[in-house]
Symmetry: C2
Subunit: 345 residues, 2 copies
DNA sequence: TTGCATATTGCATGCCTATGCAGAAATATG
DNA sequence: CATATTTCTGCATAGGCATGCAATATGCAA
């Protein structure tokens, strides 16, 4: 088996041309006459020749590899992003080199990425230490933090308007007459959570309300379920809950309905953040903040390739507007109030 | 910016050793004295040296890259697989090169994979033409078809017992007294669908029943919803539905409850296949066939690396046992009958 | 037919690292 | 202390391809 690899030289010999001619045939835009081109192509087909992308990458200094780092794929927002991102990257002739990280292994992962000479990095998860950011910046490789940012960092970032989005859903609840509104937070030190929480707090303050209670769910189902249980273990119950992402919101809804025996939205309103596909499913119909994943990805890819082409890295921070996805997991305000919120008044 | 890349030669110069010494320092198991090793390490740290994985791959002929091909990530079974697979691969010092395919682009994708000199290929989706299979086999690269197979192919495959699993859930429905059992199929020409359908048919036949009706959902939510609507548009309704995977089953449940206004499982039982995380969610509580994704991945990785190490490819077909995940979307038979089904009697 | 501009081609080299080989150094043996 | 081993080390080369440069071929106008 393992047929000995066939090289451009083999093809050249068979086609009676030089190795350069073969190379040029497979390099778009290079100068080759149609005749040699055909001869080379024929010979290549005969031998089953395939240019070696690694050798190519070595000599041209362009690996055509984009590293994507994610921590988990169980929050459906990320698979969705990964799929679209990968497609976008492939369209430009690049491939995604995937890195799944645990907390604590990011450093090694970044080392690996750099070893593979990737031309760009998307960190779709995992906070990045500023030393790491510096290391990347030093190499001149564009880095985009996706759905998170680090203020001290030199990297670009693309997020949606987490503050504004959270403010909007919270406004929605307040306008609908809710007064005992709890917040279930994600991972405390993540930028998304901080922004969403501050949006929540802004809306509450503006509405003259104090948060009914605040618990941490760590962006996991289990954490969220646990938090929800604590919220409903006494009679001092919230009448609405803002959950820091959809993935947790589903778990919260399960606890409310199946364990606390309450009805949504009659007894409690629940809202989330992300608008993952499941939010639209009949079992949940979650009112939530829609992150325009497609736009975010578009921006990410744009930044990446602009910087790859220009060869220089500049920090850019894109904030993509968020919108409301109004379904039935939360009581609605009057149509006119709703209108006003959606207009972003 | 793009600090000019620092090579092993630069390190060698600074450390006052030869380039070989640097190389050996970074090659586990190579022969270097502790003293030079330290000198090299120091110099490397000073310069920020990182071995170039591509150059390394070129000369050693080992890219340490595994290509993974998937078609979609919206069926949650695949993100889960991708995550675990990627982790397993990383543990062995390899990285996943991700390929997202549409129908029809597999050929180009495979070309790309081979160009990148990947050492193994996992096709977690997308059927593979036998010519493609031959091409891979010719190169001597191990290929594992994950969750699908092609009889004519030379590639290995890992699937779960789709026939047996489908038989089990169908038996469950029959034992619970259902007689009007419909089947919603996935993609017609996929091996998973064919096997699941044939398991369904076997059980029906053994139970002396004819399928109530059979529709195609193409493994998409929309397809499944459409099929479900057709099932319930007349009064001739099924009293149970076997759906070829969970992802479709959720859509079916939504239609039954929200559009047909029926109750599950009182009016209709619904069962699925895969046991994705959402099947356990309170909104669905889907009775389904559990595919042991972890075992499947374990086997996949095992095949892959055994063949990579031995350097020879042999066809192997692993079938991982499936089991029942009994929840509440389907009426239950008596405890004793249930027991018998689970025991696989 | 000749001369010049342009399009092709081949040569030679470089990208960065791993590794066989032979000699040098360090260690063990008697 | 001499010799036999073992451990290190550096040299030189290879791995497959892209690309600047110089040389050749081609096309066209005069």
């Amino acid at each position: 088996m393992a047929r000995e690899t066939v090289t451009s030289e083999d093809v050249a010999r068979l086609a009676n041309v030089s190795q350069s001619a073969v190379s040029r045939t497979f390099t778009p835009g290079a100068s080759v006459s149609e005749r040699t081109r055909q001869r080379v192509l024929d010979a290549a087909r005969q031998l089953g020749y395939r240019p070696n992308a690694l050798a190519r990458a070595m000599i041209s200094g362009r690996s055509r590899l984009i590293a994507v780092l994610v921590a988990y794929l169980d929050n459906h927002f990320y698979p969705q992003v990964l799929e679209q991102l990968s497609r976008a990257v492939q369209e430009r002739g690049y491939q995604v080199l995937l890195f799944l990280t645990d907390r604590g292994t990011q450093d090694q992962m970044v080392q690996k990425m750099l070893q593979y000479q990737v031309e760009g990095i998307v960190m779709a998860s995992a906070d990045m230490s500023s030393s790491l950011a510096r290391e990347c910046a030093d190499t001149g490789i564009p880095v985009v933090l996706f759905n998170r940012y680090v203020t001290s960092s030199l990297s670009s970032s693309v997020t949606s308007d987490n503050v504004g989005g959270a403010r909007m859903v919270t406004d929605l609840l307040i306008s609908a007459g809710h007064r005992r509104i709890a917040f279930i937070a994600g991972t405390e030190d993540s930028s998304t959570n901080q922004d969403r929480e501050s949006g929540f707090l802004q809306a509450m303050e503006r509405g003259g309300l104090l948060p009914f209670r605040r618990l941490v769910g760590d962006y996991t189902s289990e954490g969220a379920a646990h938090a929800a249980r604590r919220l409903f273990e006494s009679d001092e119950r919230p009448d609405a809950i803002v959950v820091a992402n959809d993935h947790m919101a589903f778990a919260v809804m399960d606890v409310i309905r199946d364990e606390a025996g309450l009805s949504i939205p009659d007894d409690v309103s629940v809202v989330g953040f992300d608008d993952v596909p499941e939010a639209g499913w009949g079992g949940y119909k979650l009112t939530t903040v829609r992150q325009a994943a497609d736009v975010m990805i578009e921006e990410t890819v744009k930044i990446l390739f602009e910087q790859i082409e220009k060869g220089e890295v500049e920090r850019r921070a894109i904030i993509v507007p968020a919108s409301l996805s109004v379904r039935t997991s939360a009581r609605l305000p009057s149509a006119e109030k709703l209108e006003r919120i959606i207009e972003g008044a």
